[in-house]
Amino acid sequence: MRLSRRDQVVLCAPLAVLLAGWLVGPAMLGLLATFTNYSPFTTGVRFVGLANYSAVVQDPQFSAAARNIAVFTAVAVPLELVTGFLIAYALREPLRGRAALRVLLLLPWLVSPIGSGVMWHYLFASTTGIAGYALGFFGISATSPLGDERLAPAVVMAVEVWRVAPFVAFLLLPGLVAIPRERWDMARVSGASSLRQIVDVALPSVRPLLLTVTMLLTGLSLGSFDAVLILTGGGPGNATMTPALYSYASAFETNDWRSGAASAWLIAAAVLAAGAVYVSLTRERDRE
């Protein structure tokens, strides 16, 4: 149907109002405020330049958080992609009970990030947990790895992979199912191994989809908050501190609104930078 300019405006208006009022608008106001001494409790707002940002960047707790989230994103996102891809790959061909398997393998993603934190808190505890039970057979009393500075970051990542990989599989499956049969047959006839089939047939077909999923996972990871809040609260020490936890604690717990807002915008900047790469990659592909 041919839409006039006016039709387009009318159709997009409700979305524009919602996003302007409840997402983009507040975000932009927040950005402006970070260059001032604004907080809900100040009177007499004045321009302070980059003072809020430099205060955040110089805080050792924030640098620890930034380092942690860089490692977290670099490790967890690829693991989520690989695990999710393998599950989707295994589910791509008809199989007895596939519909049930699809639902069952999506269950971890249906648990809220905060619920997952509550659950794994107990599952890692020595008296109620899985590891405590298994190690008990060897006569070892387990202590929670969440209290160990070296183990806690790995455990937090593993829990997040457990929750997110099923969603990745859910998102990738339609792409893998849509690959025409002939392409698999051709690869099989020419004697390609499973690995070659993945590299030559599956990956090229779902590359655009993988790009979009990677963008979503990157944003999710850079904003990690709920998943860590209960599990470790950022500890022990700062071992699992994230920028989002730092930002929340600054603004709502220690009433340092300015640091909270500025550090939150640093998260937004990181996601927008990843977003710029994503948009330019999709444009490049469109031109091909």
């Binding site: 149907m1 839409l3 159709l11 997009c12 409700p14 979305l15 919602l18 409840w22 997402l23 507040p26 975000a27 106001l29 927040g30 809900p40 599950i87 519909a99 393998l105 999506l106 269950l107 971890p108 249906l110 809220s112 905060i114 619920g115 509550v118 659950m119 107990y122 599952l123 109620t128 899985i130 008990g136 057979f137 009393s141 990989a165 339609p174 779902v206 655009p208 979009t212 999923v213 963008m215 979503l216 944003g219 908050f225 809040l229 209960i230 920028p243 929340y248 603004a251 709502f252 807002a261 939150a264 998260i267 937004a268 996601v271 990843a274 994503y278 948009v279 999709t282 592909r285 469109d286």
Partner: protein
């Protein structure tokens, strides 16, 4: 084939064992890790589900709030996203804008909830259903626009053109011609959006002062300095909060196969 089945069996065991451990604990069966060798203790009962209401007196109310907010937010999301997705799908220039919605969908709530909470407070929308519902809808709308745009792009415009030739207006065509044709995609999107909204923590957390709570907000203070919930009660609460979304997904598993992030890209390649 055999390798595939073995892989799926291992994946199923790894991904579901934690949930199974939780569900049996909700029914009172817990491990005794101090015994050598470890054993199981407790007897099967439904009591722990009732205990949730004692440990967290407002739990059932919170469950109801969560359901209403998530359902309303999903409705608002679809209502504003569908017309916009349609406009984007049927105007060639707009396709370049579409990837921006993926970036918006990736933006973590923490990036903007601090100023959002301030704006909502000034607009007197703190502790109101409207404030929570609209804020949740804004979180999920970008993803919905992207997915619905893809679904509409897959649809041949000839149906709509025929309707217009018959004298149908734009809204009539949108609601009675195009919408039924992509209904499975719309249902799938609504369910995914409902699940995301149901599980949101930060947005309802910063927009409320304790008067209304959703289940995730309540869970965020299951452990405080004063208390730590007993494992079977916490397990029961977790089980209860998982059941509604699990049922929804199981009921609509066929429609959910239409939730595709890909169609948008495929059609723009043409």
């Amino acid at each position: 084939m055999r390798a595939r089945i073995a892989f799926l069996a291992v994946a199923l065991a790894l991904f579901l064992l934690p949930l199974a451990w939780t569900v049996v604990a909700a029914f009172g069966i817990v491990p005794d890790n101090s015994a050598r060798p470890p054993s199981w203790s407790g007897s099967f009962s439904f009591d722990h589900f009732a205990e949730v209401g004692l440990a967290e007196p407002a739990f059932w109310e919170e469950l109801a709030s969560s359901t209403v907010f998530a359902a309303a937010a999903a409705l608002v999301t679809i209502a504003v996203s569908y017309p916009a997705a349609y406009a984007l799908a049927r105007s060639p220039v707009a396709t370049r804008v579409v990837p921006v919605f993926v970036v918006l969908a990736s933006l973590p709530a923490m990036a903007y909830v601090i100023p959002l909470s301030d704006v909502m407070r000034r607009a007197h929308l703190i502790d109101t259903a409207a404030g929570i519902i609209l804020s949740e809808a804004a979180v999920t709308a970008p993803l919905a626009v992207y997915v619905l745009h893809g679904a509409i792009r897959q649809l041949s415009p000839s149906w709509e053109e025929a309707a217009v030739l018959d004298g149908a207006g734009m809204w009539r065509t949108l609601l009675f011609v195009a919408l039924p044709l992509i209904a499975p995609s719309v249902v799938a999107t609504a369910i995914v959006v409902f699940v995301i909204d149901w599980n949101l923590l930060l947005v309802p957390l910063v927009l409320t002062s304790g008067e209304i709570k959703t289940v995730p907000v309540a869970m965020s203070d299951f452990f405080t300095f004063e208390r730590e919930l007993e494992w079977p009660s916490a397990a029961a609460a977790l089980t209860i909060s998982l059941v509604p979304v699990a049922l929804l997904v199981a009921l609509f598993h066929r429609a959910l196969q239409r939730f595709s992030l890909e169609s948008a890209i495929q059609s723009s390649d043409e």
